[in-house]
């Protein structure tokens, strides 16, 4: 009798364990499905999402590789020896060096300020019912701060390792912020080279202040020797021709 009860108990334990495991798997699976598709979308839709996301990841990897090569070619070209240096060649090389500096193709250093902006996770946690849009940094915030920096005489600006050049656009697709078509994730680190006190005063009285007053985790610091990366993208002009 004892043996039968013991066997039954063991079987019950096994069944219970299995039930629990299956239940957990079920929960995780459903959670996974909802992460993957956002809401109650069909499996076909979720597969299409998978395809799009993997296409984006592949393109981003390829683009990073291209940018690495472009940077390498530009460095090689800049360091190229022209045999005997005539005065005409030397003068042109000087012009070219200046033009590359102005175009943002050179890594630069100098005094300036560094601004860090992050999403207000805490605010959203405290108000779970609130509109999430009120707690995240938008591209308009970055655009406004970048405009402040330029009007304060910033000589070079970079956001999360993306150097801003003349044609750089800041935009969002959904709630993903893109700079030079490159996806940026918070926290956003904006570095600007220029007169630190003018930059500071201008930024502190602009959009930055609005974010600070609305409890976004933001910071503003003076940097004595900031190093900003070179622009690694393309400079293609299809329509514009020199007059």
């Amino acid at each position: 009798m004892f043996f039968v009860r013991f066997a039954l108990k063991k079987k019950l334990t096994a069944i219970l364990t299995l039930t629990l495991a299956c239940f957990l798997i079920g929960c995780l699976f459903s959670l996974h499905q909802s992460t993957a598709s956002g809401s109650n979308q069909s499996a076909a839709l979720s597969e299409r999402m998978d395809n799009l996301v993997s296409t984006i990841s592949d393109l981003e990897r390829e683009i990073a590789a291209y940018e690495g090569l472009i940077e390498q070619y530009r460095t090689e070209l800049a360091a190229m020896d022209s045999g005997h240096q005539t005065a005409a060649i030397q003068a042109l090389q000087e012009d070219l060096k200046m033009a590359q500096l102005r175009a943002g193709l050179t890594q630069v250093t100098g005094k300036g300020i560094e601004i860090i902006l992050d999403d207000n996770y805490e605010g959203l946690r405290e108000n779970p019912g609130g509109d999430p849009n009120h707690y995240i940094i938008h591209y308009e915030d970055l655009l406004s701060i970048v405009s402040d920096l330029k009007s304060a005489g910033a000589e070079a600006i970079a956001i999360n390792d993306q150097r801003l050049i003349g044609t750089t656009e800041l935009r969002c697709v959904g709630n993903v912020i893109l700079v030079n078509t490159t996806r940026l994730a918070p926290p956003f680190v904006i570095q600007a080279i220029g007169n630190p006190s003018i930059l500071w005063d201008t930024v502190a009285h602009g959009r930055y202040d609005y974010l600070r007053l609305n409890h976004f985790p933001v910071s503003l610091e003076v940097g004595d020797s900031l190093v900003l990366p070179a622009y690694k993208g393309e400079l293609q002009f299809v329509h514009a021709k020199l007059l």
Binding site: E62, G83, R102, G104, V176, G194, E234, Q236, K241
Partner: protein
Amino acid sequence: MTAPLRNMLAFFCAMAVLGLSLSVQFKAQNSPDRELYQQRQENLIVMVKNLTEKRQRLGQEMSDLSSQLYDRRNAFEDESLTIKSLEQQLARLEIANGTRPITGQGLEIQFQATSAVQYTDLIVLINELWAAGAEAIAVGGYRLNANSYIFYSDSPEGRLISVNNSPVPLPLRVQAIGNAGSLERGLTLPGGFMDIMMYNKIYPTLRQKESLDLPAVTSPPLYYYLSAYTAPAPAAAATGQAKNATR
């Protein structure tokens, strides 16, 4: 098979599946793709389109650079060939820097004299034009470069929009060189710039132009604080970049 063994096997299988699904779940929650999964499908399609275009332009840049490298190597010790190659490199940068006048097809945006346009509207417009593929822009006849800023200045005639501190009175014309159709589409997207303007009762006119002439910038930027960075050693340069990348 004995009962304990069968139980153990079943338990083992269940745990293996559990482990697997946990890892899949963990991956989906933590990979940088997570934010992509939160986007709408049409937004992802836009991203794929933009990235594909960017890859194509980068490919073109790579082939341009490698032919420049080839030319320079071939021109070694040949002064006239070297000069020609350097001049070609310089010409492209002069378009980018706005240091030479240029021409090309594009879009002209005109704000009427009575328009209530604000300087912030122009900042948005210019950003939208770059996003739509503009190659060069002039506001009120002032060519923009990387350091240009749009603000306002007070004058006896009232508050005026200014470009690099030069007032640009209304009526105001913004000219952008680029694919005229793409530029117009970029501004007329639903909820885009033209819709925002209409909502604010501002009615700029758009005109596609086969040929626009833009002047050079009035004064190229002067650098008081910035200088070219030369890495002390390759190792130091690598850490500098990594520092930027992880922030």
